[in-house]
Symmetry: C2
């Protein structure tokens, strides 16, 4: 019997308990051991809950119980999750987490601690919710040199952008509706400003390189400036606007960024709608492969945590290979990245725009008083310089695919 | 150092050598060991080939060399691959294979032999080419009760159907073109009759159930009767025709089948074009997840074989969990499956069709002398009875999604 403790009885934590209970027979078979939840750590009590008697308020009870070999950290945030995880690993207890914040901040240290203490720090649930993506990168694509990852990694923003696209609604209205439906937090900053996607692409990029890509180094732009008008133009172009998180290992350097992009109907991520997530991985032998599914939600995320529990149960006393060293990857300034840009200016500045930019295509979405166009391919730096010379534009969105 | 032998220096075998050579540094790092190709077994000689000196003609050299711990079986077919694989496993050498024929025929026996001899029989490359799908099923979705798998599992037929859809061409013409391009075999039966997809869904279904789903039990219908006219109707319905391989675990029983289906633009497999493959997996906690990529081709398939080699190298003397017992799954007759059908009859039989079938929608694709419609939902059995009463129809295609 494998004894498990769950830290935090919130959405994901209670999901972990539910998944283990519902699929008990299958999970035990696949783990080769009976998985049993011994403790649930939470500050609150849960009178009437069927697991009421497993709830404890003191982490020391868990850490001091030699029977507990696996800990599910579903608290989120940096502290006390960091201290708890560290202490667990130091006592040889494996940690399975959904905490992207902690993984992005302390991943390599916690992975090293796990290795030194013959246990595991696993984090399948930290990126893409229930989509298996960490394990495919670590275990499946092992014969590949992965050179690009592009993903829709945040369900909230993808839901908002899908609604804006399909119903012609404005950002603020859709955000409000998403908050009412529980798809967006009361404080939506982490999602809509791209911070959440940034942490996730930092984790994926680190696994791609085997070294640390720090999320603070990644250029990140959210979706708050995207308007219903932008979508009208996008439709005119047979395109949509998606928040993409991407990293590319090129001869010019290693690039990573999070930003809204106008993508074409032919782009493989075009069809990823609502709260779904998808990750495109390019390897030098395999070419493109894609992983798609529910990027968030109680049960999908919990399912990923439990898949890590099963992996730990299968490998007692053994550390599963995970290459993510402390050494930092230095990111190349995105100023050198080249692409086309979609640009809107007021109609009276058409001439100036034409003289400054190499206009590749004009875009007519019957927007009164506006002139819109797509530029030739140019670097971000060149583009920014021209925008300054214009004295600003109404909006601009990067083009992809 | 891990010594590897490659059986069969054809397309996939030479790909294995190329992948290991090209990505040597990354692969060795991920394996935690240096992977070295010691032997290549082939009946032919390869004068001038850089690996000429590794070529041997006698399997005994390999089986008797205690240094060799991993064998890549990329010969295909049942014999001598079966005997070689069995003997390798009996001597404790792991086997990594791309041979779907052999896996579908002898999977559980070879998996058991591996377990008994503390080595591995791995077959990531047998389904979906380079798409990681076996490992996600075995290692990632371990917290799930998987109840449905639907896939486009054959690249040749998907290429043919895509061409027919996009260029309005007829089956025979596209097949000929595909043969000239090397996308289809001279004898295309295994692909176009659905036999290849059938073996692959048998493998996936067996992993889903942990027991043996025999491919001979799976109802299989190929694409040879699909015409340019059918695609004209499909376009009228905003649909396309795809060869789907599916299995479903329902309260009414376990169903599996391979057949062409008319699927809507909203269907997640609609966008899977050309030689690409995709597998949709439905689990009771996660809901849908999808795996997409190149389903065939030298390097993608070889990359999957090498990922198995890395897995073996990481687990010396240890059998990686794979639940696939000898016990057979009894399949429920598809006669009881319910769905709508698209039907074409000659125009003069419109009245008879209307009196026999509950016509749900008429379909007008301006096809002279024809009457086409979509039926209400009915069982395959009910449908077949009505088709007999009609004395046959011009064509009928199952509807999905």
């Amino acid at each position: 019997m494998v004894q498990v403790a769950v830290l935090g009885y919130g959405t994901v934590g209670s999901g972990v308990v539910e998944v283990i209970e519902t699929n008990k027979a299958d999970i035990n078979k696949k783990a080769g051991e009976e998985i049993n939840i011994k403790y649930i750590l939470d500050l609150r009590d849960f009178p009437g809950d069927p697991y009421e008697d497993k709830v404890v308020h003191d982490f020391n009870i868990i850490i001091n119980d030699p029977e507990v070999s696996i800990i599910c950290e579903t608290m989120g945030g940096n502290e006390p999750a960091y201290t708890f995880s560290k202490n667990a690993l130091l006592s040889g207890k494996s940690v399975c987490t959904s905490n992207k914040e902690l993984v992005a901040n302390h991943g390599p240290e916690l992975i090293r601690l796990a290795r030194e203490n013959h246990c595991n720090y696993l984090f399948e649930a930290s990126v893409g919710g229930g989509i298996p993506i960490i394990r495919p990168l670590n275990y499946s694509l092992t014969a590949e040199k992965i050179d690009a990852i592009t993903g829709i990694l945040n369900g909230t923003t993808n839901y908002i952008l899908t609604e804006m696209d399909e119903n012609g609604a404005d950002f603020d209205a859709v955000l409000k509706e998403a908050q009412e439906k529980g798809y967006a937090e009361k404080n939506p900053e982490a999602d809509v400003e791209g911070y959440d996607a940034c942490r996730k692409i930092a984790i994926l990029s680190s696994l791609m390189k085997g070294k640390s890509v720090h999320y603070k180094d990644i250029y990140t732009e959210g979706i708050t400036k995207i308007t219903a008008q932008d979508f009208a133009y996008a439709r005119e172009l047979n395109r949509s606007v998606k928040l993409l998180a991407m990293s590319k290992d090129t001869e010019e350097g290693f690039f990573a960024m999070v930003a809204p992009f106008m993508i074409s109907k032919e782009h493989p991520l075009y069809g990823v709608k609502d709260v779904f997530n998808a990750v495109y991985v390019h390897g030098n032998m395999l070419g493109d492969s894609m992983y798609y599914g529910r990027g968030a939600g109680k049960l999908p995320t919990a399912s990923a945590v439990v898949s890590d529990v099963v992996d730990c149960a299968r490998h007692p006393g053994k550390t599963i290979m995970c290459l993510w060293e402390d050494e930092s990857v230095s990111l190349t300034d995105i100023a050198d990245m080249k692409r086309r840009f979609f640009v809107r200016v007021s109609a009276d500045r058409k001439q100036k725009a034409e003289s400054l930019f190499a206009v590749h295509t004009e875009v007519n979405a019957k927007m009164e008083g506006e002139y819109a166009f797509i530029t030739d391919i140019m670097t971000e730096k060149e583009f920014d310089t021209k925008v300054s010379e214009m004295g600003g534009v109404i909006n601009r969105i990067r083009m992809e695919g």
